[in-house]
């Protein structure tokens, strides 16, 4: 089942003197349950593409359809609501709320969606167990290692059972061991919950795990390979 469709997407930034084509005529489809990596050198347009897929930025040209909803047709408040219900985000620098515990960080989106306390508690425990942090439930981000923080961020991204998760360089700040643990967890969650994962990365370890690898260069897709 198709969860995401990009049709001739362009993103042009107008600087003082020149136009910069950050994303240039990209057309891609993502099926449910994919574990895909978007790779490419710095400045190739990975983050811009991810931002547009997540509705944080709008294409200059072309259409992005999530579950057949064209993001460009939604008002800004509707896009935020759409993101909350359909898209999970994992950021390079974790971006957890420092004053909240691991549990509270994971619960945050469920709270925004007004889930019942019982449902929230069940889902939070399930995710904390899945990311192996059930013993750090009341720890604040500052009391967790980088790897642990990113695992909490993954759990937060999955909390409201989104259609897909966008992870922008999720392993960039992690050591080898933490990266492996995180990738194993994400792979398992992808399998168990059938949630699509799309990474932007230039980490070879992530690329190795990905079942689909899309390569960008100068904003263009230069290869799109799927592994069995």
């Amino acid at each position: 089942m198709k969860v995401l469709e990009l049709n001739n997407v362009h993103k042009v930034y107008n600087t003082t003197h020149i136009e910069v084509h950050a994303v240039n005529d990209v057309s891609l489809n993502f099926e449910e349950g994919e574990f895909a990596a978007i790779v490419g050198p710095s400045g190739s347009g990975k983050t811009t593409l991810l931002n547009m897929i997540g509705g944080l930025d709008m294409p200059t040209e072309g259409r992005i359809l999530v579950n057949d909803t064209d993001l460009s047709t939604l008002k800004s408040s509707a896009i935020i609501d759409f993101r909350m219900r359909n898209i999970g985000f994992v950021f390079q620098s974790y971006n957890l709320i420092p004053v909240l515990t691991a549990k509270e960080n994971i619960e945050f989106i469920m709270n925004l969606q007004k889930w019942s306390r019982k449902k929230r508690d069940e889902r939070t425990m399930e995710l904390l167990k899945a990311v192996g942090l059930e013993d750090r439930i009341n720890s604040r981000p500052a009391q967790l290692s980088g790897g642990q923080q990113q695992r909490v961020a993954v759990a937060r991204a999955l909390a409201s059972k989104p259609r897909f998760v966008l992870a922008d360089e999720p392993t960039a700040n992690l050591d080898t061991k933490s990266t492996e643990t995180l990738l194993d967890i994400m792979e398992k969650l992808n399998r168990d919950e059938n949630i699509t994962f799309i990474f932007s990365t230039h980490d070879a370890r992530v690329v190795k795990k990905a079942r689909r690898v899309i390569t960008l260069e100068d904003g263009k897709v230069v290869s799109d390979k799927t592994r069995r």
Binding site: G54, I80, R83, M84, G88, N95, I97, I109, L112
Partner: protein
């Protein structure tokens, strides 16, 4: 969740939040305490005016107040008094004679209002009998002596009835009161000498003690050196009902001391029957009927009723007789409101500054929150809640501190002794008991919440304008 997060957010930077809370606490305390002192002073002044000077309602002939003509009087007073006494809201009624005249001693004379009263009936209306200066006699304590008068302390000083003298007893009293030995030695030089008035005594003191010692001990020396000859004689002269100059020799029966120099220096109380005889005034006639109500809140309605009942007479309540008091009473609340608004406005700028820093420091986080689905309304609410929490935390602690300090000082009072003369010249006591009603605390709480909300608007709008993609790129 937003409320909980907002509360936790204000403790991210404990020192900064505590500084803001402390500044709000100090600001609120300063405002509330100053209002408490002002309110206490005004309440005391109003109580003083009602209890000692004018009571709740006065009835006079319509022309009496404008020309003080003895002929402008109230007839058939006993019938009126009987009727008024029968009204449920009325606590007590008394009638007075009122004559303008001169008080004279061998050395001085001054203009006074001579008020003829029934001392026992007056006691039910006024508390002036309680204000007797110790050691100066009594309040019409000897019913057989008609010539006794009850005069104010300032009048006694003006008439040189109060004199000043340094003698062995005074030296002993000053010594036990802790006056330093060197000052005692200096002032002992005047031992045995008597000063007719305060000015000459002060002048003599200044010639032997320093200005610093005078400001520290001058008041004590002045008080202890006062001497008074019991039953001192003075004369009162005035015009009688036949427009003939007349008068009588009176003796000081007692001296009252209240925090209103003007009243003290101008009002002499004598027994009704002797004044009536001296001005040849008919029985059952008076110039003034004074009424004390059971509840001050009935003043307006009772004034209206009495005006309807006695349209031929002038019925005035305390607010109309002393419009300055009425103004103080009516506008005190407005003044306090303005005062607090100014303080809170100043504090608001501090809160705006802090909240702006909070937003600027958390650009990336606010971008992340918008990215994961926190809508702008919720972001706005979170920033606003943080700001209200900061204001409320400071406000509540400021009010608790104010309440405790006001509670302590309201029983002990605050003595502005060094400014006593100035205070009393304006009719205020220099010993103030701060007081504030619970309604004021509730209004201040509401104002603090409004301040918090208003202070958050600009920083919250800043947060709303953030572009999440750009905010997430911020380092």
């Amino acid at each position: 969740m937003i409320t909980k997060t907002a509360w936790k957010n204000i403790w991210r930077n404990k020192i900064r939040s505590l500084v803001v809370i402390a500044s709000v606490t100090i600001g609120i305390f300063a405002g509330v305490f100053a209002v408490g002192v002002m309110n206490g002073a005004i309440d005391q002044r109003i109580d003083e005016v009602i209890d000692n000077e004018i009571s709740h309602i006065q009835i006079t002939h319509t022309d009496f107040r404008s020309n003080n003509d003895l002929a402008c009087n109230i007839k058939d007073v006993s019938r009126l008094e009987e009727y008024i006494s029968g009204i449920e809201e009325v606590q007590a009624v008394s009638d007075r004679l009122f004559v303008v005249g001169m008080a004279n001693t061998a050395r001085k004379s001054t203009g006074v209002n001579i008020i003829g009263i029934d001392p026992d009936k007056e006691k039910e209306i006024f508390g002036l009998y309680n204000e007797l200066k110790p050691g100066t006699g009594d309040y019409f304590g000897d019913p057989d002596r008609e010539e006794l008068a009850y005069i104010g302390f300032d009048l006694a000083k003006n008439l040189n009835i109060i004199r000043y003298e340094i003698n062995d007893n005074v030296i002993d009293e000053l010594k036990s009161a802790g006056l330093p030995a060197e000052i005692l030695t200096e002032i002992s030089k005047f031992s045995g000498e008597r000063f007719d008035n305060e000015r000459s005594f002060k002048k003599a003191m200044r010639s032997v003690i320093s200005a610093k010692n005078e400001s520290g001990y001058g008041k004590l020396i002045l008080e202890k050196s006062q001497t008074f000859r019991e039953r001192a004689k003075f004369t009162l002269t005035f015009v009688d009902s036949n427009n003939q100059l007349t008068g009588g020799v009176f003796r000081v029966g007692g001296i009252y001391n209240i925090p209103n120099s003007m009243f003290e220096s101008g009002q002499v109380f004598v027994q009704d029957r002797i004044l009536r005889r001296l001005i040849e005034f008919p029985e059952n006639t008076a110039h003034q009927i004074v009424i004390r109500l059971k509840d001050v809140d009935d003043t307006r309605s009772m004034t209206k009723k009495l005006r309807t009942d006695f349209p031929e007479l002038e019925v005035l309540n305390w607010k109309e007789i002393q419009p300055d008091m009425a103004m103080m009473s009516d506008f005190a609340g407005v003044m306090y409101g303005f005062f607090m608004v100014i303080i809170l406005a100043a504090l608001a700028f501090g809160i705006v500054n802090t909240m702006l820093m909070v937003v600027l420091e958390r650009i990336k986080e606010l971008g992340m929150l918008t990215a994961i689905g926190m809508n702008k309304k919720k972001v706005f609410r979170m920033i606003m809640t943080e700001s209200v929490f900061l204001s409320l935390a400071g406000g509540v602690s400021g009010m608790v501190v104010s309440w405790i300090i006001i509670k302590i000082t309201s029983t002990r009072g605050i003595n502005f002794g060094s400014m006593q003369e100035g205070f009393e010249a304006m009719g205020f006591s220099s010993h103030i008991y701060p007081d504030i009603g619970i309604d004021f605390f509730l209004i201040v709480t509401l104002l603090i919440i409004i301040t918090g909300v208003l202070s958050s608007v600009y920083p919250a709008f800043k947060a709303l304008k953030l572009d999440p993609a750009e905010a997430l790129r911020t380092e």
